[in-house]
Homo-oligomer: 317 residues x 2
């Protein structure tokens, strides 16, 4: 089985588009519940009916089965709302009803409103239940080599086989979720040390912000836990050109090893479907920005570029 680059995009950005398939989009929306916060009359995420119905008669929440909305009605500010969400999720976790809550991480993700104001914080493992936008950082690390050797080699880590999610799959050099209160760059510097043992001074001197990759993922069994949960995501994308003598090394038990691969080797691994879905998307965006993929060698070029930068229907930071 060989995957085209567009196949890889379709796997990660799997929620239908209104623009190209209005009937499928409408059918999806009429199935799902939309998450709201009282006083903020717009969706913050989508929930499966099987998830929304669990909030029936739960304190702090109003479930409207006619409008298909789940509204957080507790609290007058972000702290009060966050506490209400925390209480609900701790109670749900105790019941053992949702598998994703078994991976409780004690990390808080931020959910923003239309004016970029913090509405509430939510435990990381619970964010796909609510279907809210989450944020992360992904960095591609590469080394310049002579043009006749392909111009660059790319550092690619393999995730530990024991990792609960996407175990054994390929990843971007450094990637991590952005906790509430962190800036993207601070998050990246922290993850560079934790995941790849890259010294802070090297990172700060060499790293280059290169945009965002946004997509709307529907979780499959590879993600672990319930399938079909909706995960609209924004990854801040960074590049770093490393000197040959700076070698990324696993800093924790999440990475098995780092490979230094040619562009052709990375392309082959992508085609084998070995990359974690959103890491494949970040890799494709890197290839587009660096002129590896072009209009002349990739027939789905325009589609791939647009799909790596989806405009989400929920407010973003």
């Amino acid at each position: 089985m060989s995957f085209s680059n567009l196949d890889l995009v379709n796997e990660c950005d799997s929620f239908p588009y209104y623009q190209t398939n209005p009937s499928l989009y409408a059918a999806s929306l009429s199935t799902y519940y939309s998450l709201r916060v009282h006083g903020h009359d717009y969706p913050l995420g989508y929930l499966l009916p099987s998830v929304a119905q669990v909030f029936h008669n739960v304190p702090h929440w109003d479930l409207d089965s006619t409008q298909r909305t789940l509204t957080l009605i507790a609290g007058h500010n972000a702290d009060e709302r966050s506490e209400a969400v925390r209480q609900t999720l701790l109670a749900l976790r105790k019941t053992g009803h949702f598998k994703v809550l078994e991976k409780w991480r004690d990390e808080l993700y931020a959910v923003y409103g239309r004016n970029k104001e913090l509405l509430f914080r939510v435990e990381r493992s619970a964010s796909p239940l609510l279907g809210v936008v989450t944020y992360g950082v992904h960095m591609t690390a590469y080394v310049r080599v002579p043009e006749e050797e392909g111009g660059m080699k790319i550092w690619i880590p393999r995730r530990a086989k024991t990792k609960q999610t996407y175990g054994g799959m390929l990843d971007n050099a450094v990637a991590g979720g952005m906790a509430s209160g962190e800036t993207p760059l601070e998050c990246l510097v922290r993850e560079c040390a934790e995941e790849a043992s890259l010294p802070e001074d090297v990172v700060r001197a060499r790293v280059k912000a290169a945009g965002t990759v946004t997509y709307f993922y529907i979780r499959t069994e590879k993600a672990g836990g319930e399938t079909g949960l909706m995960q609209p995501e924004c990854q801040y994308v960074y590049d770093i050109e490393l000197p040959v003598d700076v070698v990324p090394r696993p800093g924790d038990d999440e990475v098995e090893e780092f490979y230094l691969w040619s562009v052709e080797e990375v392309k082959a691994a992508l085609a084998r479907g070995e990359f974690k879905p959103n890491c494949a998307l970040v890799m494709l965006d890197f290839f587009v920005r660096h002129g590896v993929l072009t209009a002349e060698n990739e027939e789905d070029y325009i589609e791939i570029v647009a799909r790596c930068h989806r405009k989400l229907e929920f407010p973003t930071l």
Copy 2:
């Protein structure tokens, strides 16, 4: 008057989004006619009612005021359809009804179907009447300077004041429309010679493909001709780092002069609204890809990146 970067995006990508404003989007769609080709049951572009109604009882076309569709019914292949479109447009041009047709250019743009097949060709000046997707190339040329001088300077041309469209505004180093049958790279090499007198060997050795910028523009008076016409566009984006001794020079009377500006000077000109709208978008995309704009210094970062890469609702190449 100072423009934020998001203001500049809004000016160029001005067609409403279903995702964030479904009611405005629906109201727009119920106003416009959609262009179709017989046997291809999907929209290829949107037309103003005032434009569509002119096609009433015109040979080769079927106007359906109930479905609000204008369908090209002539021809069984691209050549036959193109000839029918040409005959219609030549006749319309003679009537003097549409101002945009006074700028007839004898250049053909290609319109593609869902399988990337050529459906028909259309005279460039007429493409905004039909509201079809058009393609172009935009290249940013820059020179490396020491970090203490800002790291790079950027070549910025000013359009001739006599130019019918966006006269006197700032542009990207090289930009041009892609004629039917051209590849993006061939188009770029040709435009580099014509517009900036850049030698072909320098361009081929140094130019780097860097993605696409896609947006949905609604024409204003600055574009000349009828206003309100819809122009969904895809620009293939290129960067070129030039040596200090390669100086772009106007190759025709379309460019007045080239400036070599610092990033700060370019930012200031953007904020003054001096750039042609789609050139501003290409400049913002360049700044994002080169780490000039970051999540830390641009509050609308995520929105800007997504909006520079709109997924259009029409088939693209």
